[in-house]
Symmetry: C4
Subunit: 200 residues, 4 copies
């Protein structure tokens, strides 16, 4: 799909996430893959309020994070979107800042294990509630150009991962397309809230 | 009522449940009885996102769970819908995945007793807040064809039951029609949240 | 105001309360005073789903709770609405079933004291946050014809009360008109949630 | 911008805050700077329900809090809006009463330190999550004419402050314009909820 086709879809997803409190202020960013060879992503520009996002605020970047089409600066975290697109062949990447993902990212040590819930079957390839999902927690940084290769390496080595957290920051999840990425987002947000409230 | 009449009503209920966070991702399924002899249910097809469900994604199944009308695969859990329709003469069955029903299903042992709340009077046949409602918690399984008869047996032996939980999975409730089933759903969700927050 | 004028306003308030989760299932009832001499109330009929309430489901009752205009049975709790209208000269009475009022009604002993919050100034006649508001908790009953006089006596003796709770049941609050009653409702719900979460 | 231009914008912000539960009853007030020399603010009149606020209920006041344009009495807290406009050159000031800001204002001692969260980067001038934000908690009073100079002095001496709390009352935050003030509000509400839930 082209930037022109993906931009309204990303805008709609961003609006839904904002409405649910998962993208407050100018936080969060959302991308979808325009082409794989060469790699091109449609991605929300940096510093945009998700409550009022318009398709014109979605830019197209290349594999080095340079803007190919559209005006606006991509977020430093576009490096993570590119890493996920490369390592996992993702068609869409959603990065959100919810209350519960922030809390879980803070209290977890190296990662979060989630096991035994029916809701896990909403994750691609998971056929039973007996599945054990493990999300790593990466430390936050302001240098994603430097840190993204570590994340990309991890995802390449762990192809069964569906998401990860960044400490006191938020969630990254993805899917082969926007619908699957959105389903993964809902699954993880649900499970974080269950775990967070049980602990509370 | 026919499939054509029930499908839009089931779609509307599903949409409301999704909006309230009770049917995230592709979870949850909803049915209504088309005929009793032979038994026919209108039921949401498996793996459909409830945020975007359309009437065309409701199928009609027979008493063995085979699709009679419509395209789409019914969920393995249609066995439980059929069991409830048979054991309790239900006109509608709602199965949801909420945060609080998941938490309650996890912390309860064999079942949950709820007693002394005015809200209990929203359940069919309950005339006083002094009523004691008991919901069994069944263990989760991926083999509902095998496990549904046990549930059907329980419901036949306990005709005063208004709902049950599946461990780390969610709630089943029902009613003589969709309006009553929805009322029961609201009553149970309210009571689970009260109990869950009190415990928290 | 006449029944015809008040019914749409009560319907709108009920719809708002339902949307906020304060009137699940067929719970809650709402009234406004049509005339004082003789006493006449417009009140929601019993057993009506507040999600789909229409003005035709509001009836007019006299001071003994008998239906004067409209079809439908008034709730047994209309006795409490009449008691409040008489003891406090209320122009509107709102009775809701929220999560937090239910929890507070259960953990409080004879009543709830709320003190020191700026939000208290939203109550009629309260000019400083240093105010101490006291809400009695009455035990629940299914015989309100018998129990309403005790409530009426209490309210007559304590003219500074703005609301009361019924154990494991919900809140009653009122005002000189629907706007003031709604403001009192929002004030109490806010304060119950603050107190409930602090305790949690 | 003129009062006529700002009033609809303030009305819209108030409506959003009401919908999110941050401005219940007649609580909260919102202002934007019309001119700096002489100082003029557009501000919500006192005692108005934010659910039904209209642009006609926004008045223009001068630097002494006197109404220049419009009918309606400004809140006693307009003194704080003026103090913030003077000390920080704010173009907009938002004062809200949320559940979590009330709880945090009650449990904090002299102030609240928030550190290490990515969301802090939504505050003007904050470039890293390693930032430590400190919000003072001022004691509540009914004499803001007397107390506002202390607040103004504090803000002048601490130009890096983005907001403050009033004990058991609520939050004040601001920005160079309404969009920035709203972003700051969302950032603080998010962080209060994270901190409050973690503590819970």
């Amino acid at each position: 799909m082209t930037l022109a086709e993906l931009a309204p879809q990303l805008t709609e997803i961003a609006r839904q996430c904002y409405a649910r409190g998962w993208a407050p202020g100018t936080s969060s960013n959302f991308s979808a893959t325009v082409s794989r060879d060469p790699l091109r992503l449609a991605i929300t520009a940096s510093g945009i309020d998700k409550a009022t996002l318009t398709p014109a605020e979605i830019v197209e970047i290349d594999g080095l994070g340079r803007v190919m089409t559209g005006s606006g600066r991509p977020s430093a975290e576009s490096r993570l979107h590119l890493a996920i697109a490369r390592a996992r062949g993702a068609g869409a990447v959603l990065h959100t800042h919810s209350i519960w993902s922030t809390i879980i990212s803070e209290v977890a040590e190296g990662g979060v294990a989630i096991e035994g819930y029916e809701m896990l079957k909403g994750l691609d390839g998971v056929a039973t509630h007996e599945h054990r999902e493990w999300l790593p927690v990466f430390e936050n940084t302001q240098d994603w150009a430097g840190a993204a290769p570590e994340v990309e390496g991890f995802l390449t080595e762990h192809p069964d991962t569906h998401g990860f957290l960044i400490r006191r920051h938020g969630l990254y999840t993805w899917g082969r397309d926007l619908a699957e990425a959105r389903r993964h987002l809902e699954v993880f947000e649900f499970l974080f809230e269950v775990i967070g409230r049980k602990r509370g």
